[in-house]
């Protein structure tokens, strides 16, 4: 059981900044995220896109913003449960909660903060008739352990960075790697595209473009995929395969959180914006893009503000008998749980003779 003061669901910019604000109040945080890396949409969808409305940053790349936030919160040593989706919540007699992920990891905290953005990212599945039959029997939507593909015949479908990067990675270890994409053009980083071309010329990657996987074959587990060429004739052929990995991106789904008894409106969680962004369940807060209240704007900067007010309320809940006075970081500095101290240098007071 992982125990912490504030359990944050969602490691996007809002969730990450909440760690900083909580740390200033000496509260510890742990974050859960369905994606394998922190940063939420900023890392997953648009790491290379510039953002222009972060106060104090005339321009910052989304990926850079995440790196900066990770650096800013490092002194507060947040814990992470990544690649797992928060599944169930249980309230205990003492007012604390237990949140369990889809992989069974249990977390306990007196305060739960949902900073889930648009929900957890689920893989977008291609429209193939018998797809579900082969899930876990040769069809995977995410690569967790590349080792299982060693010596196997792998077919990857998709035209973005992940399809390119995994084709390159697996080309060295799988028996065969075939990449199928509907167009001749790929939507990835230039050097990845060039690397795939080189591997294709060396005969290490078979490239099928423009083409599409239109069927799956196999008795109990996957044995072959049906590929249709995007020509007028639309000829089809069978390609023997042990694994089919469709990489068509991810789409956010509110998911299990929708069943936690929270008041939901327009796929978002209703909160008290007059006070502390608490939901209808005391002790559970919702901040950032996932919440809704009159006048809500889904902006990173609004999420930062909400996180700041939320931790004040969380502090009161965790320490009902303590009185807290807000301190400016220019005055109090930042004292990390790792023993690090950042503070303003002492002013020099000296007479001029």
């Amino acid at each position: 059981m992982i125990k912490t003061d504030i359990l944050i669901i969602g490691a996007g910019p809002t969730g990450l900044f909440a760690v900083f604000e909580a740390g200033l109040l000496q509260l510890k945080c742990h974050l859960i995220d369905a994606l394998p890396q922190p940063g939420g949409q900023c890392s997953e969808i648009y790491p290379k896109k510039p953002i222009y409305d972060i106060p104090g940053f005339p321009e910052v790349l989304a990926g850079e913003l995440v790196n900066n936030l990770m650096e800013q919160i490092a002194p507060f040593q947040p814990g992470f449960t990544l690649g797992e989706r928060a599944q169930t919540i249980e309230s205990l007699e003492d007012g604390s909660f237990i949140v369990t992920t889809n992989k069974g990891t249990r977390h306990q905290a007196p305060v739960v903060v949902i900073a889930g953005g648009l929900g957890s990212f689920e893989p977008r599945k291609p429209l193939l008739d018998n797809l579900s039959r082969y899930e876990e029997n040769g069809v995977e939507y995410m690569i967790r352990d590349p080792e299982i593909y060693r010596g196997k015949r792998v077919v990857i479908a998709g035209g973005g960075d992940s399809a390119l990067d995994w084709s390159i990675y697996l080309a060295g270890m799988a028996k065969e790697v075939s990449l199928v994409h509907r167009r001749n053009e790929f939507r990835g980083a230039l050097d990845s595209v060039e690397k795939v071309k080189a591997l294709k010329d060396e005969g290490k990657i078979r490239l099928y473009t423009p083409a599409e996987v239109v069927g799956l074959r196999g008795k109990d587990s996957l044995e072959a995929v049906v590929i249709q060429r995007a020509t007028d004739a639309g000829d089809e052929f069978l390609l023997e395969a042990d694994h089919f990995i469709p990489l068509f991106g991810l789409s956010p789904k509110l998911g299990p959180i929708a069943n936690w008894g929270l008041e939901i409106e327009k796929n978002s969680i209703k909160v008290d914006n007059a006070l502390d962004y608490q939901t209808n369940i005391p002790g559970i807060y919702a901040i950032g893009d996932i919440n809704i209240y009159p006048g809500k704007l889904k902006l990173i900067l609004c999420g930062f503000h909400e996180a700041t007010l939320m931790v004040q309320s969380a502090y009161q809940r965790i320490h009902p008998d303590k009185r807290y006075v807000m301190k400016y970081t220019t005055v109090g500095g930042v004292q990390g749980f790792d023993g690090s101290v950042r503070e303003a240098p002492k002013a020099v007071i000296k007479a001029i003779d």
């Binding site: 949409q41 969808i45 648009y46 896109k49 648009l118 929900g119 977008r124 291609p126 429209l127 998709g158 035209g159 973005g160 994409h181 509907r182 167009r183 053009e185 790929f186 939507r187 068509f248 991106g249 789409s251 956010p252 509110l254 327009k266 796929n267 978002s268």
Partner: protein, 109 residues
């Protein structure tokens, strides 16, 4: 500047004829969201960067639309339910020339 009329068929097949401003730097995806013709979280996921295809729509009328950018072409090549008349709503800027435009939202995926 004057509003234009746009006909939008939502994902349940219901036709909506809406007024669209042309002086607010708005695109078709934002118009759909402003009239709440698709549930929040199911359209405009990436915010309008041609990076998610959640605003895919089929253009039913013969209006001359701006050419697809490379980013839009590439995203549509990875989307599902794509037809020859598919476009990303976020890449269609609302201009007076689009008065009377008819579109249908593609299924959620």
């Amino acid at each position: 500047m004057q509003d234009i009329k746009i006909k939008i068929t939502d994902r349940d097949g219901v036709l909506h004829e809406v007024d669209a401003p042309t002086d607010m730097n708005m695109n078709l995806m934002e118009l759909v969201r402003s009239y709440e013709l698709a549930p929040e979280g199911t359209i405009g996921v990436c915010g309008g960067m041609a990076m998610c295809a959640s605003c895919q729509c089929y253009v039913k009328s013969g209006h001359a639309l701006p050419e697809k950018s490379d980013a839009e072409e590439a995203m549509l090549a990875e989307a599902f339910y794509v037809e020859p008349n598919s476009r990303l709503g976020c890449q269609i800027h609302l201009t007076p020339a689009l008065d009377g435009l008819e579109v249908e939202l593609a299924p959620e995926s």
